[in-house]
Every structure is written in structure tokens, then in C-alpha cells.
Symmetry: C2
Subunit: 232 residues, 2 copies
DNA sequence: GTCTATAAAGTGATAGAC
DNA sequence: GTCTATCACTTTATAGAC
């Protein structure tokens, strides 16, 4: 399902991908010019068009170089999880871990700094769906579909529609966690403690597990949420 | 604390703000030129510099025109909540509602389409903290501080650091909910049901309440999350 | 494959007429 | 306040030499 598209291991094409990735992460996709990229990659300005055809195509390739291994690791982790729990539903925490951890673990294989890596991922996910490159959209669709089935099995009493939305909220928290760690410190005068990513990840998994599970058990006697009018 | 800065109700300055807001929402902050804005506002190209001094300053003003009423409504709702529960901690659901609902309710006062309004808010929050206009950063800091205190009162057993991170995850889900409703439908072949915002909001509040509360009560016998090694 | 040179269009900002 | 004309750059993309 997920084709393995190969990427150059060296040469000017590789240097262009590296440079593009770094600059896109730092400044955002719109704010980087072909000249910025070729300057950092130490090639001539024509190289981008020669190797990729256009700036847009290079942008798509840089995204794909990330997302392909992330997608593959997600699916592999989920499969190995299902094998381990053969037939039975896997624990919710472990499914969420399989979805989130690859975004973190792929960082080690990158030559970008950790901070930049997360920014790049954040920028990819912050794109509107309709201007993601088609192959990336296809991958995300497949990942969502596979994980939805796993979640549905683990939470048989939650409706399909509820589950989709909860997974959506989870995705938002996940992206925010990766991309705005620095914002958190800035906006709270450094009281977030700057923990390791492993600690943050386990905090997130607890949060998301509780959120996904909410409403599963027989309706707790919660004080029936607001929704009412305020005297504002 | 939050100064009330006035914005023009008519005239070319107002038209420029309207046009900028619409285009920034549609295409993103980097992708809109002064000429795009003046064309839509039906002014000459010099008008932006005459009225605002620079493109950047106009961008900041457009953001502020949103965020000021949102911030004011958030603080007002929280205050009225605390008055209502005089002394006692307000229910978690109601605090979250006070934080999230203003982002939705301000849509009615806007002349943008609902879809565009949410996109604009998403773009503001997707900015890196260090390139938000200073007054906006100040407002966010104040809001976070006020709501953190309310959350801490409602969840006295959760550590300050845990709470900060859970609030951070909540913020991510909130932004994602507002800005990527269309993506959800696109990536799930429309099985999210396109519910009204009111329904989505109450789904989100349930999710976030559960996530924030997680771990409050005496450590549930959860199967101790993953964190372990995988055979991948 | 790599490069320079350049075309063609777009950019933010401003001077100066009205 | 509004406008046109224009400056001084930067942009993507490409032609054509090596």
C-alpha cells in the first residue's frame, strides 16, 4: 500500500532536499525561496528545476521523505501490537503509543536538530488538507483508517462518529505537543519544567487515553456539561 | 489589563482590515501581498503604508481585532463563573467551556464566513510564539495564567507541571477542532457526520474534561502504559 | 550535470501631484 | 486622504554555454 520511493543518499539532489527541509522547518513553506535553498545546498540556482522540476515539487519530496518512514513505522507497530494481543483488543495506551511514537522516534534518523524536526512535522500537519501533496493525503487516510479500526475494537461501546472526533482531538494535541514546546515555556514563564520527550509522551498518552475512553463506561453522574446560557 | 484599542467602523482603513483578514485566512500570512489586499479593498497601493505604516503592522492589527474580544469574553465568562460558584471550585466542564466557547461565539460578530473565521484563528495559534505580535502574546499569557488558577482549584491533586501540559494538549485539540473540520471529512470519507458546532463543542468538552481530570483520583489500576520496548 | 546570465513578473515602500 | 508612477529589490523559471 505505501510505496517505498527512494531518495538519493548523496549528491546535489540530496543536498537540496536537506537544505529545503531545514529551511522549510525554520521559516515555513511560503517563506523560503529557491535561492535560499540553492545557497544553503551550495548548488546553482538552476539545480532545483533540473532535479525536481519546480519549487513545489521539491517541497512535496521533502515532506514525503519524512512521512513515508513515519507511516511505515506506525503501521508496523500497530501490526506487531495486534500480533502480540492476537485476536483480543490491544490496550488503548499501546495503540495511541503506536500512533504517536513514530513521530518522535524518527527524529533519531534525521540530520536535523530535534527542535527543527518537530517544527517541520508541525508544519506538514498544519497544512490544509486540500493543499497537502496527494500521496501524503493518501497515506494519512490509510493510517487513520487502520487506527480507527483498532480504536473501535478497544472501545466497542463508543460510536463510530464519536470516535472519529475524539481521534481528531487527539491528533490536535499530538501536533501541538510536538511543535509548540517552546511556546509553552514562553507563555508560562518556564513553569512547564522542560521535561524529556519521553516524559512528555507518557503525559500525552495518559491525557489522550482518558479523553478517548470518556463516555465508554456507563454514563458517569457528571454534572451535565454547560451548553446552557451564560449571563455574559 | 486588556486595553480596548478601537478599530474603524467604516472607511478605507476598515476596508483594508476586512480585506486583509479575509485574505490572511484564505491563503496564510506569508502568501498575501500588499497588492492583493489593496485590490480587494479597492484602495490604491499606498493606502496600506499610509494607514498602518507597513504590511506587518496591518497584519498585527487584523489579528488584534479578533483576539481582543475573544480574550475579553474568556475573562468575563470565567469571572461570572467564579461569581456563580462563589468560593467553591467551578466544575471543570464549565471552565473549559469558558475558555473555548468565545472562539466560537465571536464568529457571529464577524463578517467573514464561519469557515474562514476558524481558519484565521487557526493561523494565529499556529504561529510560533516568538513571532506573534507582542500584545497578542501578552494577552495569551494573561489568559493562561487566569485559567491555570481556575483549573488548579478544580483539580487540587494534579501537580502544577502536569496541569500545564494537560492544558497545552487541550489547546492543541481546540485549535485542531476549529481549523481542520474540513480535513476530518476529507480524510474519513465524510464519516464524521458534519455535526453543528454546538455538538462538536460539547464533544470536545467531554474529551478535554476527561483528559484534564485523568490521574486526579487515586491511581487507577491501569495496565501501566507502554514506554517499554517494541520488537520493531 | 553544472553553471551563468537573463527574462518576465512580482514585491514592499515612497515621492509627489491632486 | 487618495492616487499614480516609480524605485530598488526579489521572485521563479529557463536558455544556452561548458
Amino acid at each position: 500500500m505505501i510505496r517505498g520511493a527512494t531518495f538519493p543518499e548523496s549528491g546535489s539532489k540530496r543536498r537540496l532536499l536537506d537544505a529545503a527541509e531545514k529551511l522549510f522547518a525554520e521559516k515555513g513553506f511560503e517563506a523560503v525561496s529557491v535561492r535560499d535553498i540553492t545557497a544553503l545546498a551550495k548548488t546553482n540556482v538552476a539545480a532545483v528545476n533540473y532535479h525536481f522540476g519546480s519549487r513545489e515539487a521539491l517541497l512535496g519530496m521533502a515532506m514525503m521523505r519524512y512521512m513515508i518512514p513515519v507511516t511505515q513505522e506506525r503501521l508496523a507497530r500497530l501490526e506487531s501490537l495486534e500480533k502480540k494481543w492476537s485476536g483480543k483488543a490491544a490496550p488503548l495506551e499501546e495503540i495511541i503509543d503506536a500512533l504517536v511514537r513514530p513521530l518522535v522516534s524518527q527524529v533519531k534518523k534525521s540530520e536535523l536538530s530535534e527542535r527543527l524536526f518537530y517544527k517541520l512535522i508541525g508544519r506538514i500537519f498544519a497544512q490544509q488538507a486540500d493543499d497537502l501533496p496527494a500521496p501524503i493525503e493518501e497515506q494519512l487516510r490509510h493510517v487513520i483508517d487502520r487506527f480507527m479500526r483498532a480504536f473501535a475494537k478497544a472501545l466497542p461501546t463508543v460510536s463510530h462518529e464519536d470516535l472519529i472526533w475524539r481521534m481528531h482531538f487527539l491528533a490536535g494535541g499530538m501536533i501541538h505537543m510536538l511543535t509548540h514546546q517552546d511556546m509553552l515555556n514562553r507563555l508560562t514563564s518556564g513553569s512547564s519544567g522542560e521535561p524529556s520527550m519521553e516524559v512528555t509522551l507518557s503525559r500525552f498518552i495518559r491525557f489522550a487515553t482518558a479523553g478517548l475512553r470518556e463516555g465508554t463506561s456507563i454514563e458517569k453522574p457528571t454534572k451535565k456539561g454547560p451548553q446552557a446560557t451564560f449571563d455574559f
